[in-house]
């Protein structure tokens, strides 16, 4: 599913070269549930961005579904993101002017899916996340947990193979966080590959495989 070989990502900060990712080799099978932990600046977010095709590695190869991605152009990357990868962010990143329904619908609109196909798919997803009554509400009328569940619905609406979650519970209280984790774990149970970046050891412990990073290197990879 995901095959990182010798991935490096270097940033130039003034005269200094920062090695955010330093020769990473990771292999993740389809359907795995992986947590990525590490202190700030350890490179875990950069790793997630590279995995999500938002950032290009400086060196190395990244095979997604057996396909080399480092040589794709922006257009192809956008299409691959749209079809294979779902994102969940710590700060939800919902568009405040759109309702929950419209936020979830957005990836389908961008992909050019016909309205009559969009509608039932969005409705079904919102129902599966117990959000059907909130469909017409804007993000500012929703609780944190509801917002993150809308974001999950948006990530899932294109039926991706991989779900990348960057501190999904970071802005939530304990109960909402548990709901959100239950929701994404439910998706994982149905076969989606789930990667969660987190600070929270409790959250990380729920994953079946734990990757620990420090200074751009994988220091622990345990199941």
């Amino acid at each position: 599913m995901i095959d990182l070989q010798n991935i490096c990502r270097h940033f130039q900060m003034g005269d200094q070269e920062v090695r955010a990712l330093d020769q990473i080799d990771v292999h993740i099978e389809s359907g795995e549930y992986v947590s990525i932990m590490g202190p700030s600046g350890s490179g875990k977010s950069t790793l997630l961005n590279v995995l999500g095709l938002l950032d290009r590695p400086t060196a190395g190869t990244y095979l997604l579904d057996g396909r080399e991605t480092t040589s794709l152009d922006d257009e192809e990357l956008a299409h691959t993101r749209a079809r294979k990868i779902g994102f969940i962010f710590q700060s939800f990143h919902l568009i405040p002017r759109l309702t929950a329904f419209e936020n979830v619908e957005l990836p389908l609109v961008l992909a050019g899916v016909a309205p009559e196909v969009r509608r039932p798919r969005v409705q079904e997803l919102l129902a599966s996340l117990s959000l059907e009554s909130r469909a017409k509400h804007r993000p500012n009328e929703l609780s944190g947990g509801q917002r993150q569940r809308v974001a999950i619905a948006r990530a899932m609406v294109m039926q991706p193979a991989v779900l990348l979650a960057d501190e999904p519970t970071g802005n939530l209280d304990h109960i909402s966080g548990a709901e959100v984790l239950a929701a994404i774990e439910g998706l994982n149970a149905r076969g989606i590959t789930l990667l969660v970046v987190t600070h929270d050891a409790e959250v990380a412990q729920r994953a079946r495989r734990h990757i620990r990073m420090r200074d751009g290197k994988v220091v622990e990879d345990a199941t």
């Binding site: 922006d74 749209a82 990143h93 568009i95």
Partner: protein, 381 residues
Amino acid sequence: MLLLAMSIGVAAVIALTSLGEGARRYVADEFQALGTRMIIVIPGRSETGGVSPGMLSGETPRDLTLSDALAVQRLPGVARVAPLVVGSAPASVGALEREAPVMGSSSELMPVHGFVLARGDFLPPGDLSRDTAVAVIGNNIARELFPGREAIGGNLRIGDRRFRVVGVLADQGRMIGMDSQELIIVPVSAAQALFNTESLFRLLIQAHTRDDMTRVRDATIEAIKLRHQGEEDVTVITQDALLSTFDRIFTALTLTLAGIASISLAVAGVLIMNVMLVSVSQRTSEVGLLKAIGATRGQITALFLTEAILLSVAGAIAGMAVGFGVDWVVGNIYPSLPLNPPVWAIVMALVVAILSGVVFGLMPARRASRLDPVAALAGRR
């Protein structure tokens, strides 16, 4: 802010062009009111080819006389000739006296000039040189000099001569600077005697048909040249020439006004660009998100461009409302000014508005599409 700028631009285009058009049509209508198929002979040669009657009535090398008028009358293609002597004289009835413009002419003046009578008769037809003491007066003159009684049949003293009122003019408003309500018309020879002059102010000629105009004009020049010892010392202008000259002047004026107004549209365009740039930087994280969920550069560009165009179209529509509003207000203050913005101006204003939306929206839209998704998601540019 942006909408305001755009609407001011469009409103300016609409209001200014309709003012220009209105002025043009006002003048055209005035000349149309002069009567059709009209040729005007002015004493004095204009070398400049200018058209302002005031400018041309300066020096008169050789007078235009009644016999010139009679000669022109005999030319082929000429339907009617009305000589014109114009002056101002005190008019009185008993103790009532006022100064009034006096026009000396013939019975032909009515059809040539298009005068309409309220009641009574116009000047009697007949020999131009015969000095009948009759007068046709304007409505206001009749009211002021014959208060409370019928003017027709009454006696009127103009200068040191007595006239019998035979007709009263209908109110036709102003006809190129002559208010028909304030006018006294007497036979041409009476006016000549009154102002102690042999020369005519103008000779108005009406051709049989529109096609005769050029022929009549050339023949008139020839005939008068012959009578004036071979010197071409008159200026002959046709209504068409006059009209087309004014048309050109006012079209140029309208275009100039439109140009000025277009500058304000361009300013509005720059404002659009700024607003869009601000909007892009405010929504950096949204752009990042769009990229994360698979929006391509083209889609993001299209999104922001659409927004810019929608904004400018909304501004344009608001501006059109304001422009028409201004027209309506001005039209109420000056009812005689026909105020309608030309269609091309409306179309141009809309096209320029949309175009500036595209042109000035393109740069911010491209900037948005080129944002780095990782940095954008973090809210950094």
